[in-house]
Symmetry: C2
Subunit: 196 residues, 2 copies
């Protein structure tokens, strides 16, 4: 006997795969990427979407233990994260990726590899990031104790055409998340039934 359950996945495949996307949160250290990503994930789960947070910093210890912060090492780490995102995405899992990803070329790689891709520029003035400095990393970098620190001793290449700009020095976390959800909806990644 073939139970009806067998047919659910193919129905769902259409439903989910059509909507899954990668939300790539790029920005300076301490700009608010992880905070926004975590809040976004909660909203997506609340909407019953399969979603996973791929936090660049959290993945590093096991994914790229031998890589540092040179431009080539960052590129390699960023590409690995994009590829893992692709494995999830192809099974209908929306991936939320807070990651500094300072180079346009690696973000372009992620966009091309992931296809269903929304680039969110988590924008915050450098001075404000330095003021926040939750991990004390800017202080160290300014004292010259961390080489190649993005924003201080290594470049951050601003996104040219991001789908969303979340200015965290003006907007609340909820407001930033709303903008991302709106963009996801506009691109067909949420489904109209959710926002009506």
């Amino acid at each position: 006997m073939i139970a009806p359950a067998l047919h659910i996945p193919s129905l769902l495949e259409d439903w989910v795969l059509r909507r899954a996307c990668a939300v790539w949160l790029t920005g300076l250290p301490a700009s608010g990427k992880t905070t926004i990503g975590t809040a976004l994930l909660q909203q997506l789960e609340h909407l019953s979407l399969e979603a996973e947070l791929l936090d660049g910093d959290e993945l590093r210890p096991w994914l790229s233990p031998d890589l540092g912060f040179s431009s080539e090492d960052r590129r390699q780490h960023n590409r690995k994260v994009a590829r893992i995102g692709g494995l999830l995405l192809r099974h209908g899992v929306t991936v939320v990726v807070p990651i500094v990803s300072p180079y346009r070329s690696t973000r372009a790689f992620a966009r091309e590899h992931l296809k269903h891709f929304l680039e969110v520029y988590v924008k915050c003035p450098l001075e404000e990031c330095i003021r926040r400095d939750p991990k004390g990393l800017y202080a160290k970098a300014l004292r010259g104790e961390i080489p190649e620190f993005t924003g201080i001793s290594a470049p951050y290449e601003e996104p040219e055409h991001p789908e969303v700009i979340a200015e965290t020095n003006f907007l609340t976390v909820d407001a930033c998340v709303d903008r991302i959800l709106e963009a996801m909806s506009n691109h067909g990644y949420l489904g109209d039934e959710i926002i009506e």
Copy 2:
């Protein structure tokens, strides 16, 4: 208006998550792991299961480009593959993992990390693997051109309590796949409706 589609994922979550598992195919080089894994994946897709092949050799170029084949490097690579498997598994994707994984300790890590885990020992006598040698690697290793080659100049620790033993020198690929499907069913990872 909330469309019924919204409720499908939670239904499906129960249906899929209950069944998703990792099928870890360990064995000597050229024992038949990838061949069996590829055939198994086709069967799982035919049964409408979300499934992904995580081939240890195929992942290496982007996942572990700096790692070689020392015991520590192998362990690290194997652990990375297990962790990626875990990301998929938690979203209901069954992962099929053909990977030499010669050390008991790393297979034990994979079992503990993945929890829903079936170890398949793809068993084939070393002489037969040397005879097959599809990539000419055994020949090179026997000439001393590849250091730390599993089975020749590096150990392969046989599984002690694998859920399945697939003896590829006696069984056809289809027979091996059937044994794995039977074990998956017995462990509740397929659902009875499929095999009745």
